[in-house]
């Protein structure tokens, strides 16, 4: 292989991959916003529909993003709040919170009534728990129902940790993930409440 050949190969590969990467970055930039909307619509909307009370607006369009803290690298962490309105008045606000479960993060969507300061409902959005055991946190409606209609000042820990939530037997780790996610979510909400401007 001559030197000329080697240089030509390196040059061609560099140019081709650079052009490909540039093209992909451009397409990604153009579609990013639209993809975000679609993902929220098709993945989060079912959970939203389950937990929000009656509303007459599109909570996905009426969403606000607020910086709620920093991660371990000092980057800003943002939480998206979905506002449900009835006759122009905010009747509920929903947001997602998560906590590590038995095998991966467990995400919950929490709906809060900002006027009465009560937790309206909770629904599990993402989980990869053991089928038949841990998955009951999402499949058994009685478990998330325990969180519903409780004042925000309640202790949302498991009863074993002094809280009010009864764990599903055989799925303590998964139950704990949900209750931790809810407790964290409520804490976050309390911290940013003044900034939401409701």
């Amino acid at each position: 292989m001559s030197l000329r050949e080697i240089i030509q190969m390196v040059l061609v590969l560099t140019i081709v991959t650079a052009v490909c990467a540039g093209g992909l970055a451009a397409v990604k930039m153009v579609t990013a916003e639209r993809i975000e909307y679609q993902q929220i619509k098709f993945i989060k909307e079912p959970a939203l529909k389950r937990i929000l009370p009656d509303f007459d607006n599109d909570p996905i369009s009426d969403r606000i993003q607020i910086v709620t803290g920093k991660d371990s690298h000092g980057r800003e962490l943002k939480t998206t709040f979905f506002l449900a309105k009835q006759g122009g008045e905010v009747v509920s606000l929903a947001f997602e919170s998560s906590s590590p479960g038995y095998s991966g993060p467990v995400g919950v969507m929490i709906a809060i009534d900002p006027k009465a300061d009560t937790l309206q409902a909770v629904a599990v959005t993402i989980q990869s728990e053991t089928p038949g055991l841990g998955t009951r946190i999402a499949d058994d409606p009685n478990f998330p129902a325990q969180f519903a209609k409780k004042p925000l000042s309640s202790n949302f820990n498991l009863t074993s940790a002094g809280g009010v939530i009864g764990a599903i037997s055989g799925a303590t780790v998964s139950s704990n993930a949900v209750s931790t996610a809810v407790s964290r979510g409520v804490e976050t909400y309390q911290a940013v409440k003044p900034r939401l401007g409701l």
Binding site: E5, Q8, M9, V12, L13, V16, T17, C20, G23, L24, V27, K28, T31, R34, I35, Q38, Q39, K41, F42
Partner: protein, 203 residues
Amino acid sequence: MAARIVAEFTKGFWKEIAPLRFALGICPALAVSTKVESALGMGMAVVFVLCMSNVLISAVRNFVPDKVRIAVFISIIATGVVIVELVMQAYFYPLFLVLGIWIPLIVVNCIVLGRAEAFARKNPVILSLSDGLGMGLGFTLSLVVISSLREILGAGSWLGMMVMPEGYPGFGFLLRPPGAFVIFGLILGAMNVISAKIEKKTV
């Protein structure tokens, strides 16, 4: 030249229809052919990737050294596939959820790399485009035929509309993976019978 373009385009529909004649790309052809709708979506994705990769590969064919051509081809094909994936996610999200893993797997679809290697790297851009379009539409046609048979006989509907009489019990076997092989085999058999008849007449 015009006749040549037409010939390269039409060969993809019968004479060299890729999944049925060369058994290329049968993985997606069997996997996403339970519904006509997903078959059409998959077919359109492959048509786009195939045309794009054929045109670009043919355009750069004189600059790419032989030793690195596969790496260059795969870069171009993978770029096309990711573009399809992003656009589908942005505008056809339900379809994206149905096709799922099969969209990124177009990268390793033998038809795409096969046409690049066998055709696009030796022929001018316009012929490569017509070859890609024909091969892609031929692939789509195969998927639509397989999925039509499976959806009509298996679920009693076509493109989501009920076509069978009320109370059709359905034939669930055809909707499961083994059913795909049976339908595929029957179509291959039918094609061979028809081809043999055509040849007898012309000879």
